[in-house]
Amino acid sequence: MSDNSRVRVSIVGVVIVALFASLFARLWFLQMGPEQKLGKAVSTLATRVIQTESPRGEILDRNGKVLAQDVAAWAVTVDRNLKKATRDRVLGQLAEVLKVPERTLLANYQSVRQSPLPPAVVDLNVPLDAQLAIREHSEDYPGVNVAELTIRSYPNDGFASQLLGYLGEVDSVSKPQLKQLEAKGYQPGDLIGRDGVESAYESVLRGKPRRETVQVDPTGRQVGPPISVDPGTVGDNVKLTIDINVQKVAENSLKEGITAARGLQDEAHRDKGFLTLKPTGGAVVVLDVHDGSVLAMASNPTYNLSEWVGGISANNFALLSAPGAHNPLLNRVTDGQYAPGSAFKLVPSVALSKYNVLPASQFVDDNGSVKLEGSVFKNDNGTVNGPVDLQKALTVSSDVYFYNAGNDFWKIWKIDPNQGLGIQAVAGDLGFGRSTGIELGDVSGRIPTPAWKLAVANANYKKGSPDWNDHSTWYPADNIFAAVGQGDDFVTPLQLANAYATFANANGTHIGTLWTPHVQAVVTDPTTKKTVEQYAPKARGTIDFGPAYDSIAAGLRGVVADPQGTANAAFAGLLVPVAGKTGTAEIASQGNTNFGSTSLFASYFPADNPRYAVVALVEQGGHGAQIAAPIVRQVIESIDQLPLTPIPTHSTGRD
């Protein structure tokens, strides 16, 4: 070999050493050096966690009857990794077998609400013959499976819907909420309580999901058995204070009352000829006066919870949310705000003696109207009641008596703002103007005060302007209307029931306890049957009704028992002693649109040893005695297991 060649062979050697050195260096960088982090992606790339929801807890009534439960349902699923042509062919075949439009199946397949890894659920509640057709010809349906899933089921579907609440999928909420939920272990497609008990007790009802860690190949297909399995736990059962039998009667009575109201004359607009009432909804609530537990909570119009299972269809949602549907999703007991009308007179009744404005025994002459501070205030229908004391004023529902009371308080307010707001203070003690604290959540309503009026004026008008002066001034009429539950007073049916319950539980002691209304009785673990949480009643405060208690109680009892009582006819023949107060709250017209009065009846029974407070309300239902009182009667009859008295379809009334 020449020296030249020898040099060249040596150069080749150097080149090859350089090549190997660079390979070693690169290997070091990748495995031991800065690029090690590339490998971190491997475990997430090659494994996936498949999370499946565990069965949700049951919701039961106080007697253990099932209101909501998870049941097995047969579903048809389609694998994710099918070629588009195969998928379309398979969906076409399934459409024929399942008798479901192909586009519906495709929409389900592509729905973002479903997790992308497990097979897509394209149809639920598949009939047996279709299941068999698919299973027997599985070779014709590549990637198709018939699988058992759990879905929510409602044995008493159509009742207590707003109370129970519906379930929705997690990703139908906003992005920030989704982040928070994902932190709690939810993933898109998971069901979550959206309303009512399902929402309030979400953390209890929801089980711990089953989590399988599986290895996947690059196409996302599972390889081999799971690496690890966390079996999860079933959700706890929630037993409610609700009695489904009373609930059903309450809902049916409410419906019957609304139907009956449609045939009645709108007496508030008698001057416009014979107009019938056009009720838009109503509410009934039954409270245990001794601990605030809710026995029944009815809201009308209502809907079927089963419509939400598997995701509510756009069509159904449009029906539920149309203006003419009058918002069936709204729980009117907790979230409906109404002027209480005369049903509110309990509050000034208590305030008059508590603040030594007018002794219960003192009579006021009721001539059907009264001129106060230059304005004339009339009784409903201009009825003349003659001389009335507190008891009679309640029994016959004398507006003049309470107009006077409101005016008297206004006059005191001019001198002593604290004493002068006695009606508002008692309203607060009875739970008005603030949330009741019920676990379902509710609205606060409104009890107007001079401070509130000023704040509204400040927000809407230039300070010092004539408009501001007018709107910020606390006029006598403001306090007068506050005394009779008109004007700017707004209460929820639940607040009204809770106020009457507070009055009722003072029977004998004159000291009432304002309880926190609640629907939960006990939470149990379905596996161990052990009690996880027993509800302890929570008192929010007490109120001393003083010596006037017996006069007020007699007045409320007289509403039903006295032949002159406003609800006497409605309860004729009922042996159970009921005490209550009718309410007929007028609603101001808006332009040419007239609204019938809100029909209310707030009560408790038995009058001599109260157990339950019952409130019924029908929007545009006319007089309280016409519709609301007969509804309450039916509810009371159902609690005492008496035959139900039909709601009169032809009645006139007074308040």
């Binding site: 060649s5 190997f20 070693f24 790339l45 690059p218």
Partner: protein, 389 residues
């Protein structure tokens, strides 16, 4: 050693001295390919689990076939050792002419495989003539240069390049760009050692550069070939989902991730998730090094590279020890062939080189490559054995 043989007296080759020939065998060069092949069998087993499961093949399908190829390769290596390489040297035109029809035939009737038409289907087996052609071309150019040693003028350089060019053109027609480049490197290495003048080297480099440029400009380089090159230059794909990446980018990402996850000691044989679950495509063939990297870690990967380095050193050593110029040229050609394949293959799995379909010698699944590699080793062993004869 030379002094000892000198003392016992040098004799011309005869049947009686064949035993002494085998006494001069390079045991390191003999055992290294066998050791690497056995490691290769294990890694093919490791890396083909997902592939066989998906394809519904027996678990040992690839291992068995590779095992048969190794046995055939060992036999071929033995045959090459027994044959005196000087007879092959003198018959280089025959070797060259024998391989041409095989190469050409495959273009006409070959089967498609990953964009490269390079296979003969012989019963259940596939035969890839371009693997054998690499060795044949090394022999041919070395033979030609040996014939005209010390007198390699421009004309003769052109003839030598022509010999390589014909083979390269046919291989290019098979869309086997990788093998074409390997052949080019082998031919260049042999020519450089054979005494290519510096001026020739400069001219050839310019020529090659302009050819590559022309190929890209005129679109002779196909889309997937360009993709392989560009994915090498643009490796930051973290912002892309698996679907958005080109297949090659996905390959490269998965390949690097698999190796990086190996760390020092690796996940353990059969434990690496990427390997086990088939995340790296073509893993039992071109991307076998990722299985080594993931499962055996830096320790395993470095050990394998060390074995290759030892192999390269033995080949280089024989280039210096050869008793004739042909032996030196063949040893350098074979060294270049292995070195470029190892560098390109291992380099591409780590993002150091563009992705091409070049097997890792003795490791990658593929019978033709294994047999051709053993033939090459046998030839060099034959040169080493006969360095005194």
């Amino acid at each position: 050693m030379a002094s000892i043989t000198a003392a016992t007296g040098r004799r011309r080759t005869s049947a009686a001295t064949d035993t002494s020939l085998f006494a001069h065998i390079d045991l390191a060069l003999l055992t290294l390919p066998i050791a690497i092949s056995i490691l290769g069998l294990l890694m093919i087993y490791d890396a083909s689990g997902h592939e066989t499961a998906v394809g519904g093949l027996p678990r040992l399908y690839y291992v068995e076939r590779q095992g048969i190829a190794i046995v055939l390769g060992l036999v071929a290596m033995g045959v090459m050792m027994v044959i005196d390489y000087r007879r092959i040297r003198d018959a280089w035109p025959l070797v060259y002419l024998a391989v041409l029809p095989l190469l050409a035939g495959v273009v006409l009737i070959g089967r498609n495989h990953n964009g490269a038409q390079a296979w003969f289907q012989i019963g259940p087996l596939q035969f890839q003539p371009s693997e054998v052609a690499k060795v044949a071309l090394v022999i041919a150019i070395a033979g030609y240069c040996h014939q005209h040693r010390g007198d390699l003028d421009a004309w003769r350089v052109a003839v030598a390049i022509g010999l390589a060019g014909v083979v390269m053109a046919i291989v290019y027609a098979q869309h086997d760009l990788g093998t074409m480049l390997v052949i080019m490197v082998c031919a260049a290495a042999v020519l450089v050692i054979a005494g290519l003048k510096p001026v020739h080297i400069v001219v050839l480099l310019l020529l090659a550069a302009s050819l590559v440029g022309a190929a890209v400009v005129t679109g002779k380089v196909q889309a997937y070939q360009l993709d392989r090159l560009t994915s090498f230059t643009d490796q930051s794909t973290s912002h892309l989902s698996a679907q958005q990446q080109s297949p090659t980018q996905f390959n490269l990402g998965a390949s690097k991730a698999a190796i990086a996850s190996g760390g020092l000691e690796g996940a353990g044989f059969g434990q690496g998730l990427q390997t086990k679950n088939g995340f790296v495509p073509e893993q039992h063939t071109d991307f076998i090094f990722t299985a080594v990297g993931e499962d055996l870690g830096f320790v395993g990967g470095a050990a394998l590279l060390l074995l290759y380095a030892l192999l390269a050193w033995r080949l280089w050593r024989i280039a210096l020890l050869s008793s004739d110029f042909f032996g030196t040229l063949v040893a350098i050609g074979v060294l270049a062939m292995f070195a470029i394949q190892i560098f390109e293959n291992v380099g591409m799995t780590m993002g150091l080189m563009p992705i091409t379909g070049i097997p890792l010698p003795f490791m990658s699944y593929g019978g033709s490559a294994v047999i051709a590699s053993f033939i090459a080793i046998g030839l060099v062993l034959s040169i080493h054995m006969r360095r005194f004869a």
